[in-house]
């Protein structure tokens, strides 16, 4: 579809967005992994640093990429471009689908780039594990796409950077992207209710994790449903269609 093609082109040309979701995760990864490429026992877990941070940054980068849909929606609302789009035959569903697909395209690029750099540092996983991890990640990103659309309708372009960035950083922190969440305590329980926690678990397939138990699927499902419903509500309020 021509429409989607130009949307992707726009995204690639938007340097700020592209750098934040693509270049920064890769750069952080290289800075952490390069000096520690022979460290094979992160925090006594027997996990090599280069693997741990490859998957962590894949989570962080792809999460931001998908949330970035919200940034673009807020910008289009603030400049009035969404009014113009609403006067075209582009359906609401197609509009959101384009935003989600674009977010996923950047997410996939981020993940692929990190895998390639990781492999360059000597990360070895079974082919099945690469695929399984990627599959879980892509499913785990769905609630973030809905959250991005929700935030994009709640705030203006001025505030969307800190809001989306803040939400992303907060969820990443509590979900255990930067360091593992403890196995007990309040934080542990809070974390298990967050989609970012399960996104991290998805990435830990690459560390020998088993994927999601039933509650993982449930949390992802509930977050997707709730964020999508709220996003729909925010969209209707924003466009004056009750």
């Amino acid at each position: 579809m021509t429409y989607l093609r130009y949307e992707l082109l726009r995204t690639v040309r938007n340097r700020r967005f592209f750098i934040i979701s693509l270049a920064i995760p890769v750069l952080i990864y290289i800075l952490i992994a390069a000096p520690n490429r022979h460290a094979h026992n992160l925090g006594d877990t027997k996990i090599p640093i280069k693997v741990y941070f490859m998957v962590s940054l894949a989570v962080f980068g792809s999460m931001n990429a998908v949330l970035g849909a919200g940034t673009r929606i807020a910008a289009e609302r603030t400049t009035g471009w969404n009014r113009q789009l609403r006067l075209t035959p582009l359906s609401t569903r197609a509009y959101f689908a384009t935003k989600v697909v674009t977010g996923y395209a950047v997410a996939c690029a981020t993940i692929a780039l990190l895998y390639i750099v990781g492999a360059g540092f000597g990360v070895h996983l079974a082919a099945g594990d690469w695929l399984k991890m990627t599959g879980y990640l892509l499913v785990g990103l769905i609630p973030f796409a809905a959250l991005g659309i929700l935030l994009g309708h709640l705030v203006t372009a001025d505030a969307v950077g800190p809001t989306v960035g803040g939400a992303g950083a907060f969820l990443a922190f509590l979900g255990g992207v930067w360091f593992p969440v403890g196995q007990s305590g309040v934080l542990h329980y809070v974390a298990q209710g967050l989609p970012s926690y399960w996104l991290v678990q998805a990435s830990h397939v690459g560390l020998g994790g088993a994927g999601w138990p039933r509650e993982g699927w449930l949390v992802i499902l509930v977050w997707t449903f709730v964020c999508a419903r709220l996003a729909m509500r925010a969209f209707q309020r924003d466009t004056g269609r009750a």
């Binding site: 021509t2 400049t79 471009w81 113009q84 006067l87 035959p89 582009l90 359906s91 466009t239 004056g240």
Partner: protein
């Protein structure tokens, strides 16, 4: 309502905005029927309710009361079918694409879109086809917006103050192009606060003030109603309705001890004023600008 005769129908449209200064009744009950193929100017000063009316007509704003049908359909359906081309007043163009790319992206959404390169020539933006949209001047952006409306090849073109931000030359070129397009049987509705534009270009002028239609007719009819000259005078203690009955006077507004008279025949009016009110002082006759007269009356 028969679908065959249906052009645009607005019935009892009302819209009130709630603001921190209390409610503002932007549109207070508008009835309007526009036959297919007509070119209609929605004329009125800022704040008359033109943009709100257009937003409701296009389905961008939900009316508090009343209905809109475009060619017998609700606006959303007409828009989804690609039957509406619109040029909105405000709003930046989407950034990070060139003018040509932006138009190609939009053209892909319409079932019978015009050729992009042809449209760019028509809107005189072929020279800036490869510039990024965020680098355009106000006038250039406005012409790109015009191209966006033309591109749709739609039955109905709605233009909200299309020439704002254009210089005299572009304005002229714009209307020349529009006249050519409208002769092809399209229905065109445009909002403007320039009486000249409405006069030169429209078959029909709908005059709006304070959220209501105050006059509706051919440009000539509207001009005679609005008055062609204004007389200002210091004239305390004379009720406005008394002045309104003077020959040649079409409307009166009192401003403190002064009055402003919009006149269809200012010569008759001035004789009558001098004869009837010897106390009138500081009499001025406005220089015959239709626009000035119109703005005086509806401000």
């Amino acid at each position: 309502m028969s679908a065959a005769s249906a052009g645009i129908e607005l019935r009892g449209l009302k819209k009130t905005y709630r603001t921190s200064d209390g409610p503002i009744e932007a549109v207070r009950g508008i009835h309007l029927e526009i036959a297919p193929g007509q070119t209609v100017a929605l004329l009125g000063p800022n704040g008359a309710g033109k943009s709100t009316t257009i937003d409701m007509m296009l389905g961008l704003t939900r009316p508090d009361a009343g209905t809109v049908t475009l060619f017998g359909r609700p606006p959303e359906d007409a828009v989804a079918a690609g039957a509406v081309g619109a040029m909105l007043q405000s709003g930046a163009l989407m950034r990070d694409l060139t003018v040509r790319e932006l138009l190609l992206q939009l053209a892909s959404l319409y079932p019978h879109a015009e050729d992009v390169d042809e449209t760019m020539k028509l809107a005189e933006i072929d020279g800036i086809a490869n510039q990024r949209t965020q680098k355009l001047s106000g006038g250039q952006s406005q012409r790109v917006r015009f191209a966006m409306a033309l591109l749709t090849n739609a039955e109905l073109l709605v233009l909200d103050e299309p020439t704002v931000g254009m210089d005299v030359e572009s304005r002229h070129a714009f209307w020349t192009t529009m006249r050519r397009l409208a002769s092809g049987g399209r229905t065109v509705l445009f909002a403007t606060h320039y009486l000249e534009e409405a006069d030169e270009f429209a078959d029909r002028v709908v005059l709006m003030a304070h959220g209501e239609v105050v006059a509706d007719g051919t440009p000539n009819e509207i001009k005679s109603k609005v008055g062609s000259r204004t007389i200002r005078a210091t004239l305390p203690d004379v009720p406005a309705d008394e002045l309104e009955r003077l020959p040649g006077v079409s409307a009166v507004e009192r401003r403190g001890s002064g009055v402003v008279l919009a006149c269809s025949d200012s010569d008759a009016a001035i004789r009558a004023i001098v004869a009837t009110y010897p106390g009138a002082r500081n009499i001025e006759i406005g220089g015959g600008s239709l626009e000035a007269a119109f703005l005086e009356l509806t401000a």
